[in-house]
Subunit: 336 residues, 2 copies
């Protein structure tokens, strides 16, 4: 195995810190390691595989160095500005923001679903939205088997998805404190409002789920709608997903199929009863699925419940898995 | 106006206490007031309109007295046993449990939706499930205008719906304590599990939403499916509702229609942005609706978000409103 020079842009954030942790756990051999953040955090120390590193300020010259790939998690504006600079310097950017996801030139990748798309990159690879990633891992095997006609998402998303500010609001809120980030109290409440509203009445988060589902599954005929909701949970997104298939299916067969799908753990036994919650998913890279049952209200319909760690599989782990895939495919030309 | 003798069975519970409060606020003139509970609470004092009353044990002879109506909220088993005894003694029972709801002889009533059904009672009137009630108030005007073909419910239900035990689990849970009632930690988590599981994979709570929607709207052709989820919210249920109509509709017209519907408050302006949450609904009898938007994934589809106080409109207030309707219609023959 070759050794890789790796940068992490946004290394001090919720996702960035998790990226360091996940990279540490991975088999990727890292030679030089460059944690980066804004000037606010420059000079701070982070530890990676037992060694201390100093956080650098991300700037125009950050990628003059010999870097193989950079994991970005520093917001859309930062990605917009710095990802092209990195790419121009032959650094492969795997970006966590929504900035490049719908760009035709940029692959949008979930390694269990469409890994090969990553190889088409011209320098930037986008990591999908956290809610979309976990849904894709579950929907892909079902789509392959029964062809999805329509998907209706209702999400239950954790505050960690809003980064450090979201976590603080919930911590303070349960103690009776005021929100600083969310426009409405998040403690003991559910907010049908994630990211900005758009003219058609949907939030950007909802439209991400619609558009990214199409792009990742490579099927623009699937009808998709979504309601995305922030709930008072720290880490781990849950989703109630209603599906309509073209083909008939058998519930037990579908459950077996999911049991054998990569990155999926089925926890679904009403006789216990057993179903997944964020307690199962938190800290793990697999997406958990349960409550798999026929929807009797439509021909070939299904309801299911899926749960994932939004900071790991929904962000950091998916990014690292993309890097692992590129390495496996000898994308950097360092294998022999 | 006549004066009424009123019993409350389960007067010490979450719903029962709220019934006392709502009855107190109402215009119903109460002559004799009989709070009842199990032997555990017999002898306790409750205050109603400034006067103190002693809780009696509910037993076979509780309804030998001259009582006009009894509001029941003491669990299904208690209703099964004592509601028929009350009815036989000419006491009109308005029951909050699920015991009688699907009985063909028992009207299932939401006063804004199907008040006249109450007049057909043979002694027992059932109050619907809390999640169903709030959905019905919103769906009825839409059904009348555009005829609903299909409904997909995903709920976000408060712990108060599980009574005192549910509230305790969340209170203890956020302090790091263990659950006693819920099988899985409810603090900072979402449980896709309300009431028992049935053989077809649905929970009883989900089947209540399906069956009660049919009965209350009096339309068994509507296709309905549901996923019901407990969330770490104290009071107030939220619902993500996906609708498909037979007729075409205009979103602005639908919003106007809901603004004029009884018991509904529309809070829906993405330019603010403004949408309802349990903070709006808690303490009020109206159902709040927002996020009204076209679902582009189907012909004549709509998504919306509705929120209600599950202890008031979802239970106590709906019960008292049924009593008020009966009084208005001179059902007890005491008006003149
Ligand atoms: N949280 C999730 O579930 C999730 C999932 C998928 C994608 N994402 C995306 O990941 C990104 C970060 O999310 P987060 O939750 O980790 O947020 P966060 O906890 O607020 O962290 C933000 C990070 O970005 C850095 N940063 C901000 N502005 C910068 C700038 N101008 N130059 C360089 N670094 C800058 C911050 O550094 P300082 O310490 O210097 O401020 C910090 O390291 C966002 O784009 C978000 O949309 C998040
Ligand atoms: N909470 C809701 O949102 C909601 C909504 C709709 C319907 N409901 C229904 O309303 C009922 C009560 O719910 P809750 O939330 O108020 O529960 P809760 O807080 O646990 O209260 C239960 C009440 O029932 C009484 N009770 C229990 N067993 C009894 C018995 N054998 N004889 C007489 N009284 C007895 C209790 O009296 P003691 O003090 O003596 O134990 C107490 O007053 C349930 O049937 C529930 O399904 C609840």
């Amino acid at each position: 195995m070759g050794k890789y020079n790796v940068a992490i842009a946004g290394a001090t954030g919720v996702v960035g810190q998790k990226m360091i942790e996940v990279l540490e756990e991975s088999n990727i051999a890292v030679d030089n390691f460059y944690p980066m953040a804004s000037s606010r955090s420059a000079g701070k120390k982070v530890t990676f595989r037992g060694k201390e590193y100093t956080v650098e300020e991300l700037n125009e010259h950050s990628f003059d160095k010999d870097i193989d790939f950079a994991l970005f998690s520093a917001g859309g504006g930062t990605s917009k500005k710095f990802a092209p600079i990195a790419a121009k310097n032959n650094v492969v950017v795997i970006d966590n923001s929504s900035q490049w996801r719908m760009d035709d030139e940029v692959p949008l990748v979930v390694p269990e679903v469409n890994p090969k798309d990553a190889l088409k990159t011209k320098g930037i690879i986008a990591n999908p939205n956290c809610s979309t990633i976990q849904a894709m891992v579950v929907l892909k095997p079902l789509h392959d088997a029964y062809k999805i006609k329509r998907v209706i998402y209702s999400t239950y998303q954790a505050v960690a998805g809003s980064g450090i500010k979201g976590i603080k609001d919930l911590e303070e809120g349960v103690k009776g404190g005021k929100n600083e980030f969310y426009p409405v109290q998040i403690a003991y409440n559910c907010l049908p409002h994630i990211d900005d509203f758009t003219e058609n009445g949907y939030t950007k988060e909802e439209l991400k789920m619609v558009n990214e589902t199409h792009k990742i599954l490579g099927d623009y005929d699937i009808k998709v709608t979504a309601t995305t909701v922030r709930v008072p949970v720290f880490v781990g997104h849950s989703e109630s997903i209603n599906l309509e298939f073209e083909k008939p299916f058998d519930v037990d067969e579908a459950r077996e199929l999911l049991k054998n799908a990569p990155g999926v753990i089925v926890k679904d036994d009403i006789s216990v009863p057993e179903y997944p919650t964020v307690l199962d998913a938190a800290g793990n890279d697999e997406v958990y699925v349960g409550r798999i049952r026929r929807d009797f209200s439509v021909k070939s319909g299904m309801n299911l419940w899926c749960v994932g760690d939004n900071i790991r599989k929904g962000a950091a782990s998916n990014t690292v898995q993309i890097a692992e895939y590129l390495i496996k495919e000898n994308f950097f030309g360092k294998e022999n």
